[in-house]
């Protein structure tokens, strides 16, 4: 479990990005962290892994304090940054040098993930394309079997088949003890993969809800006329009418559209709060 207790963080002490953020992230779930550019997504991940420290408040990851960066903590968490770092080593050399630091590393799975993601195993890693390097890092991170896996824009640079393969892999490695936390602004890449959504904007937590909860509270429809007397979180003119995200008063079971939900929540945070705070 990851707990943020009244976390305040800012790159300058005078201008805080997050102020008194309280949030609880449960094990056994895949979380999608959504936000605009500069909303503070990466900052939140870095606070979880301990490469940034809270100004006030605390973060606890499975009962440990990330800030201390103790080896016993770092063995249980893997962070994939948005850009990729790979040294001038072959895949085998990299595995031999880095894998011993992760006691649960699974070598067989590592090569299986590489095959599934179609990563070329010949030559030095730094000579691979950005997409190939990214897929290599994802395969290595998954093979480490850490209890927490944090990914910052993991699908950036991945081609369409790789994105699909990535989703399958993430689903296959998920278990009850694990937390997978994916930060992205490419919302469609997360659809049908995540079971919890967190939306942040300008350092504020706008939404934290499970997919089931979202389906329960709002519905996604295409209508010819916007219905009256219903809270409409978001509307967008389409070719065949108007797409709306509105309060689910009839208990409709509509598919989740993350992009529309995200637009609705960021454009209309007060209404989103109202809708999601009702039982």
């Amino acid at each position: 479990m990851i707990q943020f207790n009244n976390l305040s963080f800012g790159y300058s002490p005078k201008k805080l990005l997050y102020k008194n953020l309280t949030l609880e992230i449960q094990s056994g779930s895949i979380y999608g962290l959504l936000g605009k550019n500069g909303a503070g997504k990466s900052t939140l991940l870095k606070n979880m892994v301990g490469t940034l420290f809270p100004v006030e408040g605390s973060v606890m990851v499975n009962g440990m304090v990330p800030k201390t960066r103790k080896p016993s903590f770092l063995q249980t968490i893997y962070y994939i940054a948005e850009d990729v770092y790979v040294p001038a080593l072959t895949i085998k050399q990299y595995k031999n040098l880095f894998a011993p630091f992760y006691p649960l590393f699974d070598s067989d799975n590592f090569y299986r993930y590489l095959t599934e993601l179609e990563v070329s195993v010949d030559g030095k890693l730094n000579k691979l394309s950005f997409g190939q390097q990214k897929k290599f890092v994802i395969a290595f991170a998954l093979a480490c079997n850490t209890r927490v896996l944090l990914m910052d824009e993991p699908t950036n640079g991945l081609d369409i088949p790789s994105k699909s393969q990535f989703r399958k892999l993430i689903a296959s490695v998920m278990n009850e003890d694990r937390i997978i936390f994916i930060s992205t602004h490419q919302i469609r890449d997360l659809e049908n993969m995540i079971d919890n959504v967190i939306i942040v904007d300008d350092g504020k937590l706008l939404l934290h809800a499970s997919v089931a909860d979202i389906a329960d509270k709002v519905c996604f429809k295409t209508v010819s006329e916007i219905p009256a007397g219903v809270k409409v979180l978001y509307s967008e003119k389409m070719l065949r009418g108007t797409a709306v995200v509105m309060e689910n008063i009839d208990g409709d079971d509509s598919g989740l559209n993350l992009e529309q939900l995200f637009n609705g929540v960021t454009e209309n945070p007060a209404m989103a709060k109202q809708i999601f705070s009702t039982n």
Partner: protein, 265 residues
């Protein structure tokens, strides 16, 4: 699990640190040794044995140590590189020790061995090239000997400068994420200039006709055409000496460890 220090984990880290960037580290070593060799031969050609041995040792040892210490913590040029380094499951003490070991004992061992070998080759070649039947043979032979590392004032002073500059470079490379070597050089030059002028100001208040007032040992005053050196009282000299030899490098090297623990990226 020991979260402060584990010998097996440290072994893995040292192996990873060296092999991960083998070309960078070996390249830095090779460049430093080549530079030392070049300097030795050029000064020998232009001046004499004494300056060649001293200057090649001073610049190679101090400059080489600084270059190498700028490499050992140079992970922070990219966000991903820095994050990968900081989140690698090893303690800050182990990571710091790795850097210290490479830019300290390992560098000293390689540099001193190379310098001894290079100096030995040059001196032996010189001695063998002398005409044994010449009446000047003995004096020419005695003109050149192997460079002495023990009880050599130049080596002692160079070691003091090495420990200080390497410490400053390690701290600097953990503060400046990009082009740390240049930025640290600028900061150190700025600080030396500030200390020089501060020292000059203070000395000028106490003495007239100050010639040079470089801090530490060199305060010279002019008396007509003569130049005299002002020496510190014995106790003050000892305090200054101990400060520069032990306290300042100790503070700098420990600051590098503290900075590594507190490093954010």
């Amino acid at each position: 699990m020991n979260d402060t220090f584990s010998l097996s984990r440290f072994g893995l880290l040292l192996k990873k640190t060296i092999l991960e960037r083998a070309m960078q580290i070996i390249g830095a070593f090779a460049a430093v040794l080549a530079f030392t060799f070049l300097l030795y031969t050029l000064i020998l050609y232009a001046l004499d044995w004494g300056p060649a041995q001293n200057l090649a040792f001073i610049w190679g040892f101090i400059g080489g140590g600084v270059v190498l210490s700028s490499v050992v913590f140079s992970y922070f040029t990219t966000n991903a590189g820095g994050a990968s380094y900081l989140t690698l499951p090893a303690s800050a003490l182990e990571k710091w020790l790795c850097g210290v070991l490479i830019s300290g004992p390992l560098f000293c061992l390689v540099f001193l061995s190379f310098f001894r070998l290079m100096d030995y080759s040059f001196v032996t070649a010189y001695h063998n090239g002398l005409d044994r039947s010449s009446p000047l043979y003995r004096s020419l032979y005695d003109h050149v000997y192997l460079y002495v590392f023990e009880d050599n004032n130049v080596v002692i002073k160079a070691t003091v400068l090495y420990t200080n500059f390497v410490g400053a470079m390690m701290v600097g490379s953990l503060y400046f994420n990009r082009v740390a070597l240049v930025k640290v050089a600028l900061v150190v030059c700025g600080m030396l200039a500030a200390i020089y002028f501060l020292n000059l100001g203070i000395v000028s208040l106490l003495f007239s006709n100050v010639d040079v007032a470089f801090p530490y040992f060199t305060v010279l005053i002019k008396v007509q055409s003569e130049v005299g050196s002002i020496e510190l009282p014995h106790y003050a000299y000892d305090i200054t000496n101990n400060f520069l030899q032990y306290v300042l490098p100790g503070v700098l090297w420990i600051t590098a460890y503290v900075r590594l623990r507190e490093k954010e990226i």
